[in-house]
Symmetry: C2
Subunit: 338 residues, 2 copies
């Protein structure tokens, strides 16, 4: 019988995840039931939010059970279909598993048109990160032309789309990132008005203030912690903060503390709002239409950081917390041959 491999949660991390938390298991390849399809993974996504699901605590996502295969956004190829409307060879995307093969109901998959661009983009600029950027910026933060928009983790899968959409919307855009390579990408290729390497300054608050002489109207926060502390005093009257992620504290083992922030909101009448992309499920198509048009017309650039080989998925995930990825972090599990 054919086999396949899965990564399972071996144990819950305390602080930073390590190899000991992951277990690579070989199992019989599953067979699709009625309405289901068997998918061969081409690309698997690793994302910061997954750290929350490794935790045994209430979060916005159900925690994963120890011993179970972990879930992931996947782009894959249909191997066998018992679902009307999908057939072997179709490319699909959906939430599957950290696995070389997985079975899913056809209703839970979205077909990917390989003619629209590299299929991997269905996990990045034309997938969950792009859609997150789209609604978080346009629906939650609501930038207007002339606004100063600051985005943290600006060279990441979400942040890089946020900054470009803000620019297309007429904003002045400032990003923070953690390497000179990223800074160069933001300013030279993506058209950011300014970018700050937060690892390369002793005075982050001063650097942000210098880059934002008219204060900050929108802060799109992927990171939290000291970068948010530096942004906060500059929030303008009626500014908006969209809270998308807090990767700086996902691995914290004690309650993270920092300067109290609510007082500033009175003076500035600012609005701070958290959001989850899953609340926009019904409008996913709207975002993809717009994003794919921008990509096609050359207005929206992206980069992917591809780690080859399924066995390297945990390393790709752990690298997120080291800030190793420029753009979307992917694991290439199998080669796509169209």
């Amino acid at each position: 019988m054919a086999t396949t491999r899965q990564w399972r949660l071996e144990s819950r991390p305390v602080g930073e995840p390590t190899h000991e938390n992951f277990d690579l298991v070989t199992i019989d390849r599953p067979e699709p039931g009625p309405g289901e399809v068997l998918v061969r993974t081409l690309y698997q996504s690793v994302d910061p939010y997954m750290r929350g699901r490794m935790r045994d605590a209430e979060s916005y996502a159900e925690p994963w059970d120890v011993g179970d295969p972990m879930k992931a956004g996947v782009v894959g190829e249909v191997v066998e279909s018992r679902y009307d409307g999908l057939e072997a060879g179709d490319v699909v995307t959906g939430e599957l598993l950290w696995a070389e093969h997985a079975v899913a109901h056809g209703d839970d998959l979205r077909q990917v048109n390989p003619d629209h661009g590299p299929v991997s983009t269905a996990l990045g600029v034309l997938g969950m990160p792009g859609v997150t950027a789209y609604f978080g910026l346009l629906d939650v933060a609501e930038p207007t032309p002339g606004d100063t928009v600051v985005v943290s983790a600006a060279a990441g899968a979400v942040g890089s789309v946020v900054g470009q959409l803000a620019r297309l919307n007429g904003a002045r855009v400032v990003g923070t990132a953690g390497s000179d390579e990223k800074i160069a990408w933001l300013t030279d290729d993506l058209g950011f008005d300014a970018a700050i390497n937060y690892k390369d300054t002793d005075d982050l608050a001063g650097a942000v203030a210098e880059a934002c002489p008219d204060g900050i109207d929108v802060y799109f926060d992927n990171v939290g912690g000291p970068i948010t502390d530096a942004v906060w005093p500059l929030l303008n009257v009626r500014s908006r903060v969209a809270v998308c992620g807090q990767i700086s504290i996902y691995n914290a083992t004690e309650v993270p503390t920092g300067p109290r922030k609510l007082g500033k909101l009175i003076e500035s009448r600012a609005r701070v709002e958290g959001f989850l992309v899953r609340d926009y499920e019904g409008r996913w198509g709207e975002a993809l239409d717009r994003l794919s048009t921008f990509v096609r017309e050359g207005d929206l650039h992206y980069r992917e950081n591809v780690v080859e080989g399924f066995e390297n998925a945990p390393d790709a995930f752990m690298g997120l917390f080291e800030g190793e990825n420029v753009g979307k972090q992917l694991v290439e599990v199998a080669e796509y041959e169209d």
Copy 2:
């Protein structure tokens, strides 16, 4: 020549204000110019926000200059008028001075009808605190029937109105306050569903959780600090936090720190918004109409804590930070005889 007295800012407080920061000065009684009126103060308001104006730092209110008379909400009687539409004997309210007499332009005053109730209410339930509660709750926090609403400093001038309005709106209402007398007033007279004496518990988070078995949909924050920390983990999906004041940290001499709070907003998709009542100037009449109807019909109760004697104004102000006042804190400067 007739004289009058003013309290001036003698020096800026470091930490808690002390008597040394205030200077009582006798001056010639000012005379109204064209369009102006001379007002004899009946009641002067002292409010937490004044602490910000004593500071030499950018705030939502202009800082007061050292050596200048301080500003305050006042209810007073017109002594002499050079303004069409006001005459001697009229009762007016507006932002005047910590003074026994002051001059103001007639356009900056609002006439008070003594038949509608005690004139002092124009500084409390039918004045800035009441209007603050009205718009902060209904416009910013937007409670819906069945919501659990938590209000801090619930026995204060703003908080006591917030809680009652929330109840009239069909919410379950929980307040925090700092004495058993206040707790009794909230639950026995104002109809709060629960009230917590935060000075009388070792486990504030546990006490709030117990009082809010279905979590918290609206938090109206007058206080900040540990009470906000206790409220935060209970914020429900799509909950709203209206940030009105942060009295717990107004006297801080170092940057106050506490648990980082933004991560919780992602999971709960909560909205946190600061506001200032002055942004609702054009809608003041709407609020007063509603509030005075509630008062007249017995649906909205209030208390005033009146300190007699202009010379005691600094003590009345400093008492705010000790939590001494139940309801609106006023200074009676002269007796009103209608």
